[in-house]
Symmetry: D2
Subunit: 137 residues, 4 copies
Amino acid sequence: MEAYIHKVHYYETDKMGIVHHSNYIRWMEEARVAYLDEAGAGFAGMEARGVLSPVIAVDCRYLRPCRFDDRIRITVRITEFRGVRLRVSYEMFNETSGELAATGSSDHCFTDSEGRLILLRKHCPDIDAALRAAVTP
Amino acid sequence: MEAYIHKVHYYETDKMGIVHHSNYIRWMEEARVAYLDEAGAGFAGMEARGVLSPVIAVDCRYLRPCRFDDRIRITVRITEFRGVRLRVSYEMFNETSGELAATGSSDHCFTDSEGRLILLRKHCPDIDAALRAAVTP
Amino acid sequence: MEAYIHKVHYYETDKMGIVHHSNYIRWMEEARVAYLDEAGAGFAGMEARGVLSPVIAVDCRYLRPCRFDDRIRITVRITEFRGVRLRVSYEMFNETSGELAATGSSDHCFTDSEGRLILLRKHCPDIDAALRAAVTP
Amino acid sequence: MEAYIHKVHYYETDKMGIVHHSNYIRWMEEARVAYLDEAGAGFAGMEARGVLSPVIAVDCRYLRPCRFDDRIRITVRITEFRGVRLRVSYEMFNETSGELAATGSSDHCFTDSEGRLILLRKHCPDIDAALRAAVTP
């Protein structure tokens, strides 16, 4: 699976002259959406079947700052999924500077449109299978 | 009606050291929400009755830059409403620098949850009346 | 010159289920940055020479809503530049829905790092020439 | 010290109808800025003396969703500072729903304008002392 590329936008910088830290959380989502799509577990398909996948935890470690116009290659891995909680891990590599910029992870659960926890295996067995197959701890 | 105050956040600045221009559009929304609430035409109430109020146009003139921690006083006026299109105008005054920072306006229509145009007078006569009463050209 | 493509991110949607209107202003910047780069009048080069290009006005007309994962093709034109004020115009076409989503424009001036207006012809004659050559009213 | 209040903005919601998770990271910054100001260790004062305080790590646990117009009370504590790394912890309580919405933390270091790590005690002894005094593990 190809890595996701994010080009840094001007509006993502702050007065320190570097990317504001909150944007990395958004980049993780961009890369996750693309990754899950390719893995056969896309958001759009899930939401069409009434299944939501809210974020229950997120963390990010900032190693080297990113700057306007830098090209960031984001690698996504599913590091845990046994039916209830999905854990996704990220490496954000700055191709412009040649440095690892940040690492992070996000945890997700699956709910119906009322916010009640569901077993993905029951509502979307194909997506459950795709996620299990994609786990690389 | 009291003016709305927005304190500039660090994450709203960009690498020029000033507020990124896209944030003023968001400030206009913040001030509009507070204003319409007070005027008896709040978003929450409308949406509870299935009425949405999408933005159909927006413009902003940037006169003097705003900086981190500046205190912005936003004055809102309804400058046009005859039943279909709502026009709201804004003055954003920077209390920290003592300068008028920006002016802007936004146009809105009213739709049902399917996106079909509706007459506010039919679905929410009280809000229609409140908006008409608030017009100050 | 190729059009700029923006894929709609999840975090750009709002509770109406459509893209929040403030994001179109950011898309215009994304497309402008790419366009000016190709035209030989890129931000990075200008800022390296101490020249900033703040936005002095912006407007946008929203014609049809954009949704998560839609593919937006943004066409950029320089519609006015005679040495002081740069006007850029945008068409945002939703390739997913096959509809024109929005049109907009932005006005820019050129300043030194202290915010003083400058004549681009004096400080960056090459960029001044590139912009003049790119005007298509 | 008073807790920081954040009123949820419409533009902070996403198509799930709840606040997008990236915004909590921004709320933490808003509350941190206000807290450090009151504690005599404000950003503005530090930056005026050439000292930056980049974020080196952040995490957030999302317990209950927040919605448009909810009133969020954010409590800030400095949980660690022994001269180099500052750790700040946050509780985000939703006053509208009466539920704890999220908890989080952020780690910071201190650098000069070139990005080199500095000892706060040397450059800003007053801020160093204020931070040490504020630690409540």
